[in-house]
């Protein structure tokens, strides 16, 4: 119930609300009308979880879920009630959620992406295809057609790719096609259910940051702002971010996705990083104690710095990968980790700082 008797989600029994499936846009339209702004789709997950707890008699947990929605008390009750009443009236008389969103002057990209997420008329992958039955995007469908990569990306076509061309580092706008790389593959499929801190959770989150990085995504907002705002950038990246947010577990993945795209920081700034989203990183790695480096040096505050967890993972993978740039005195190819073995503390520390810089962590 919202405002003066506006039913957000009808009940179908004592302490049992109807599912939100099929009415997602309707609910978001009412909430957006009440708040006078675009309400993030993740709120639907909070409502679903609250309804479930409530139906199980756990009112306390239900309230916690609603608190996690981040929806605050309405600031201007009179105007909010008026907007809500008008929106409710319009919807009851057959207006579409889109009409309500448009009347509220919400960003067209927000409206379009909601329709893609929740519109049953959205095209599906044909039956028989490995992804059959899953929602798909018309844009992504065309990505599978090599002849239509231009639809997805305006990057320089591969056959005319010029070595040394000026790349997108010069302030590209966010979005696919501004990274000048090869054609971008379709976004990783967003699973419906994932448990936090399981292998599938991390597999998806890693794939997500790599895909977003390849798409040239740069977060628009500061830490703490929800994905919904980022989703308004539209296009496949906006669709993907909204899909992550719409997944009920998406809120758990976002700090890790977001921190990966932190701008480079000074060591002092990095030390302000707090969990979730960050891991303690040793500039001279911990294993170095087996290589003669005193543990007190390794664990000293100067050597330990919180960095984005998924950058930490990228660095670890790279350090363990054989690389032709790293040779021993006999010309044998090494991993960077093998290359640094036996070096002095100073060399290791300088190397560790360089790695952080080149991975975009350190200024």
């Amino acid at each position: 119930m919202l405002g003066a008797g506006t039913i957000l989600v009808p009940a179908e029994g004592i302490r049992k609300l109807q599912s939100l499936k099929g009415r997602e846009q309707h609910v978001l339209a009412l909430l957006s009308a009440a708040y006078g702004t675009a309400v993030a789709p993740s709120v639907l997950g909070n409502i679903e979880r609250a309804a479930k707890s409530w139906s199980e008699g756990d009112d306390f947990i239900a309230h916690l879920h609603l608190a996690h929605s981040g929806l605050h008390s309405l600031a201007d009750l009179a105007n909010a009630a008026l907007r809500l009443r008008m929106a409710k009236g319009a919807l009851d008389h057959g207006a579409s959620p889109r009409a309500v969103f448009e009347a509220l002057h919400l960003d067209a990209r927000y409206i379009d992406t909601l329709e893609k997420l929740y519109n049953p008329a959205q095209p599906r992958v044909p039956a028989g295809h490995p992804d059959g039955g899953e929602w798909t995007s018309g844009d992504w469908g065309s990505a599978a057609d090599a002849s239509s990569h231009q639809v997805l990306s305006d990057a320089t076509p591969d056959n005319t790719w010029k070595p040394g061309a000026q790349y997108a580092a010069n302030e590209p706008p966010p979005g696919i096609g501004h990274n000048q790389g090869p054609p971008l593959e379709p976004a990783p499929e967003v699973p419906e259910n994932l448990r936090y801190n399981t292998s599938p959770f991390w597999d998806f989150t890693k794939a997500a940051v790599r895909w977003l990085g390849k798409g040239g995504w740069k977060p628009l907002a500061r830490i703490g702002v929800r994905i919904g705002l980022e989703g308004t950038i539209g296009g496949p990246i906006g669709d993907f971010l909204l899909a992550v947010e719409a997944a009920y577990w998406g809120y758990a993945a976002y700090p890790y996705i977001r921190s990966y795209f932190d701008p480079p920081k000074t060591l002092d700034e990095l030390r302000q990083n707090t969990k979730p989203g960050y891991d303690e990183h040793h500039i001279v790695e911990r294993w170095s104690k087996k290589d003669g480096i005193p543990e007190t040096w390794i664990e000293s505050p100067d050597n330990v710095v919180p960095i984005p967890k998924l950058k930490h993972w990228e660095i670890n993978s790279w350090l363990d990968s054989e690389n032709k740039d790293y040779l021993d005195e006999n010309g044998l190819k090494l991993t960077p980790r093998q290359y640094i073995t036996g070096k002095s503390w100073k060399e290791r520390y300088e190397f560790g700082l360089t790695v952080l810089r080149k991975f975009g962590v350190l200024k």
Binding site: D158, N159, T160, W161, P163, G164, A165, Y167, A168, A169, N179, Q180, G181, P182, P183, D203, K206, A207, V209, R210, G213, K214, G216, E314, S317, W318, D320, S321, E322, N323, K324, D325, Y326, L327, K333, T335, P336, T354, V355, K358, F359, G360
Partner: protein, 124 residues
């Protein structure tokens, strides 16, 4: 597949094709977070590169054709493999990858440039 005897019998074009094929497989191994597989493929890639180097006139220069390949790992490997035979073009290709935000190849490209600039890595 990449035993020395088999590589001996391949044309330069086939070796370039094989180089790209291995690069694509490496890219998949990176995406799957499978470093062991990536390293196994790396050794195969080095065999192919070595075979091209041993061909008359150092045929690594044929790998320049892969600078525009539709896979970033292949582009990076081709650029690194040609640093000794086409230093300027290869460096430009690596700089382009380094300036992109294409993970994880952009990071390796940036480290490669640093190693070159510091003279810690001298291509041969």
């Amino acid at each position: 597949m990449t035993s020395r005897a088999k590589l001996d019998g391949l044309s330069v074009d086939s070796l370039v094709e094989l180089f790209a094929e291995i690069g694509v497989a490496q890219s998949k191994a990176l995406d799957a977070d499978d470093t062991a597989k990536y390293n196994r493929l790396f050794r195969k890639l080095m065999e192919v590169e070595g075979e091209l180097k041993n061909r008359s006139g150092d045929q690594r220069k044929a790998l320049v054709a892969l600078y525009g390949y539709p896979n970033m790992q292949v582009r990076l490997s081709a650029a690194k493999a040609t640093l000794a035979v086409a230093p300027q073009a290869a460096r430009q290709a690596i700089e382009a990858i380094a300036a992109s935000t294409w993970p994880p190849q952009c990071y390796d490209a940036r480290m490669c440039l640093w190693m070159l600039d510091e003279r810690k890595f001298v291509p041969t």
